[in-house]
């Protein structure tokens, strides 16, 4: 049965409550923190040796597609009605959008320690103590809009910079790829200051706090953001029929990327699944 991932701004109060309750249930059992650890473990930067599957690499998109599916399956074991909603940040761009209301993800961090104090993930509620964190804060931190160096969420025009790319990815298959849909969407811009944060990366920066660091899934908005990224990939696939995942074959011995990236039919850890197996999600879920 194909299920639907909805825009978070279209969820009913009941749908929001059931999503939040399922997330809190995974936190209680420790499964949630296991997801956070997986994200930390697989963040291998492209100036480092070894295989990169999650970031700065062609498999950024299929790796996160599978990661979201694993999370969604865990949620559905708690409540079979739940799916991961997406946050279209080209539309819901405000720090006071309903996404950040007390009946959903809670609001911005307060002045000073930037601690989130409203909603179900506020520390004082007792259900959201961080255990896998870059800082020693036990509480969720947000810094919406990054006021120390203000930044805006990506616009539709900025998103089009990625979606008008004709090929999935391009050599050297990392954060310096000058063309290709994947690196434009992942958002490794050039220059310094805010210009280097584009699209996917920019949203992490805009939310701030844990979302900016290695343990970004500590903020449940991570999943809504990545559902949006996945939806953009899905739409791009429809708009570019035949533009499959690249590279089709592994880079050779003379390539700087030899054994460091995953070709279309090579397996990605930790699930041992190939990008080619994740390109078509139409039998599992759809986007509304």
């Amino acid at each position: 049965m194909v299920y639907t991932r909805k825009n978070q701004n279209a969820l009913t109060a009941t749908e929001k409550r059931r999503f939040v309750n399922a997330v809190l249930a995974l936190k209680r059992t420790g499964e949630y923190d296991e997801f956070v650890r997986i994200h930390i473990t697989y963040y291998v930067s492209d100036g480092e040796p070894g295989l990169r599957v999650a970031h700065m690499t062609p498999s950024f998109l299929p790796w996160h597609r599978r990661y979201l599916l694993e999370f969604e399956r865990a949620l559905q074991r708690v409540d079979s009605s739940v799916t991961v909603p997406y946050w279209d940040w080209t539309v819901d761009r405000s720090r006071t959008s309903s996404l950040w209301a007390a009946d959903f993800l809670g609001g911005n961090g307060r002045d000073g320690d930037r601690r989130v104090t409203t909603g179900p993930f506020a520390y004082r509620q007792g259900n959201w103590t961080l255990r896998e964190n870059v800082t020693d804060d036990p509480f969720l931190v947000r810094d919406l809009g990054y006021p120390a160096q203000p930044i805006a969420l990506p616009t539709k025009a900025e998103l089009a910079v990625a979606t008008r790319q004709k090929t999935f990815d391009a050599a050297p298959w990392n954060s310096t790829s000058a063309s290709g849909f994947r690196n434009k969407l992942e958002g490794w811009g050039s220059g310094s200051g805010n210009a280097q944060y584009q699209l996917h990366n920019r949203v992490h920066r805009w939310v701030g706090g844990q979302m900016l660091g290695g343990s970004s899934p500590n903020d449940p908005v991570f999943w809504l953001h990545h559902a949006m990224i996945d939806r953009v990939w899905s739409s791009w696939q429809k708009a570019h029929p035949g533009a499959a995942y690249l590279p089709a074959t592994p880079p050779g011995r003379n390539s700087s990327q030899y054994r460091r990236i995953v070709a279309r039919n090579e397996a990605m850890p930790p699930w041992n699944v190939k990008p080619s197996q994740l390109e078509d999600h139409s039998k599992i879920y759809r986007y509304a």
């Binding site: 420790g30 923190d33 296991e34 650890r37 997986i38 930390i40 473990t41 963040y43 291998v44 930067s45 492209d46 100036g47 480092e48 040796p49 070894g50 295989l51 990169r52 970031h55 700065m56 000073g112 320690d113 930037r114 255990r131 896998e132 964190n133 870059v134 800082t135 020693d136 804060d137 931190v141 810094d143 120390a148 160096q149 050297p172 990392n174 954060s175 310096t176 958002g187 310094s192 280097q196 944060y197 990366n201 920019r202 992490h204 920066r205 701030g208 900016l212 660091g213 290695g214 343990s215 970004s216 054994r259 460091r260 397996a267 850890p269 930790p270 041992n272």
Partner: protein, 155 residues
């Protein structure tokens, strides 16, 4: 539930049958994560002894935070293939032939990673990079706000 370290998670992954290729790929990350743990001497199975501290690259107070970077002597890798060992050293070092760089903010380790363009990312900001170790340390202080880094053994 007692929080598990990245190392413990990796052991679990290996035990659960993750492919050798994946395991090899992850080793340098573990090695990097271990570097800041020098004071406690670490895990005997790690195969690394704490090395002598060499050059101090910088030591300053920035926005009320003490930031310190030092380059350590080259250490022998445990079992990694030669090119991976070389890559690992290069990953955290500003120049060829130099040892890895340790960065501390108020005495707590800031894990840095290298980007393909030569710039540095920190654990605090995984989505932006800086041209130098000093800029990355200052950038991490900016992003930390009032927060402190986690103690050494955690991540």
């Amino acid at each position: 539930m007692r929080p598990r370290s990245r190392r413990a998670l990796l052991r679990a992954l290996f035990a659960s049958g993750v492919s050798t290729a994946a395991a090899v790929a992850i080793v340098p990350v573990v090695a990097d994560a271990r570097q800041p743990d020098v004071p406690d001497g670490g895990d005997p199975t790690d195969g690394r002894a704490p090395g002598p501290v060499h050059d101090v690259l910088f030591d300053e107070v920035y926005r009320g935070r003490h930031i310190h970077a030092r380059r350590r002597a080259l250490l022998d890798g445990p079992t990694g293939r030669p090119e991976e060992h070389a890559g690992h050293i290069a990953a955290a070092s500003p120049g060829p032939g130099a040892g890895p760089v340790e960065v501390l903010i108020d005495g707590r380790p800031l894990h840095l990673m290298r980007r393909a363009d030569g710039s540095y990312l920190s654990m605090v900001d995984h989505y932006g990079s800086h041209p130098t170790v000093l800029a990355a340390a200052r950038g991490a202080v900016n992003a930390l706000g009032a927060s402190r880094l986690a103690p050494a053994q955690h991540l």
